[in-house]
Subunit: 193 residues, 2 copies
């Protein structure tokens, strides 16, 4: 009996600062091979992936993403604004240019359970990339149309996320987590384990 | 360098028929511990879990779920109907009673990126349960309110999925999958790897 999955999940940290160290594309393909085997509603496999390693394309994707973020940050209010500021976040997304590789994840809009299936695959991919010693972030653009346009993806697909992949130069801590007994009940809501 | 994640993802099969063999609840808690460490938008950790091992509760959840499925199956048309029939699926969900344990997954509706976060956690959990040798299905009720009511979950949470957990008596084959070069592009849509 192994605890490999727990070890990987526990060690993974969202990474916003990447070193210049190159990424072996075979490791990225490995994670997409894993995604390929993840389950999907009605076996529709609604995922498509674009691996971006071209500097020019990364810059265009960054610029397009920041254009959308600028609109969000100029308008965000209340608790979410406080949370963003307290985490030092801004509309600037340098990791989209600095990470050696980006993985754009596109979803076939008409597939049944498309969103659920895509994100189960993301859950698989993150562990596979961690297994290969790679650091990641799950970036969900505020406006997905701007960067999608740079990738020339067709109408029937939606850009769900961009995952920068590389090696961390980030010393950020793992975020705090609920204890298990705060989130797990037995047989009905409110009955603790 | 290991290929553990690929091995688990590749071996996992959706299981609709479960043996009576009991499940060690520690293995279920292990998978929820893994879910606990999965990333979530703005670190909101919008997940709550109800482990159901009580026969009465399982029966009520099954009945409530089938009530919703009956409405779907009475009204489904076209390609999806053909797909359901060709896979021998019906409104009957005996696995909700036969699997030794069900995990109900609830989502805090107001959390940012709640759906994405929940399903990344599901992607983690499925691999963790597979690691412990357990078989699973991701069941998304057609009407989530009926079974949710049986679990007495509060208004602010949505029942996203029910995962039956147990040992397979199913000899169904792994579903067919796209090849990697059918779903992965390089730098822009249409440029193959």
């Amino acid at each position: 009996m192994t605890d490999k999955i727990l070890e990987l999940a526990r060690n993974r940290k969202s990474t916003r600062k990447y070193s210049v160290k190159e990424v072996n594309i075979e490791d990225v393909l490995y994670s997409l091979d894993v995604a390929r085997f993840s389950p999907s509603g009605a076996n529709e496999q609604p995922w498509r992936f674009i691996i971006i390693d071209d500097k020019e394309v990364k810059k265009r994707v960054r610029d397009a993403s920041e254009k959308g973020e600028k609109i969000l940050y100029d308008n965000v209010k209340g608790e979410f604004r406080d949370w963003l500021l307290s985490h030092g976040l801004s509309h600037r997304k340098p990791f989209l240019e600095e990470a050696p590789i980006l993985i754009a994840i596109l979803m076939k809009k008409t597939a049944k359970y498309a969103t659920e299936s895509i994100w189960v695959a993301v859950g698989h991919m993150l562990l596979a990339l961690e297994e290969r010693g790679l650091n990641t972030l799950v970036y969900t653009p505020s406006n997905t149309e701007f960067p999608k346009k740079e990738l020339e993806a067709p109408e029937g697909f939606r850009l769900e996320a961009i995952i920068p992949v590389g090696y961390s130069e980030d010393d950020s801590m793992k975020t705090s987590k609920h204890n298990l007994n705060e989130i797990v009940f037995k047989n009905n809501w409110g009955t603790t384990i």
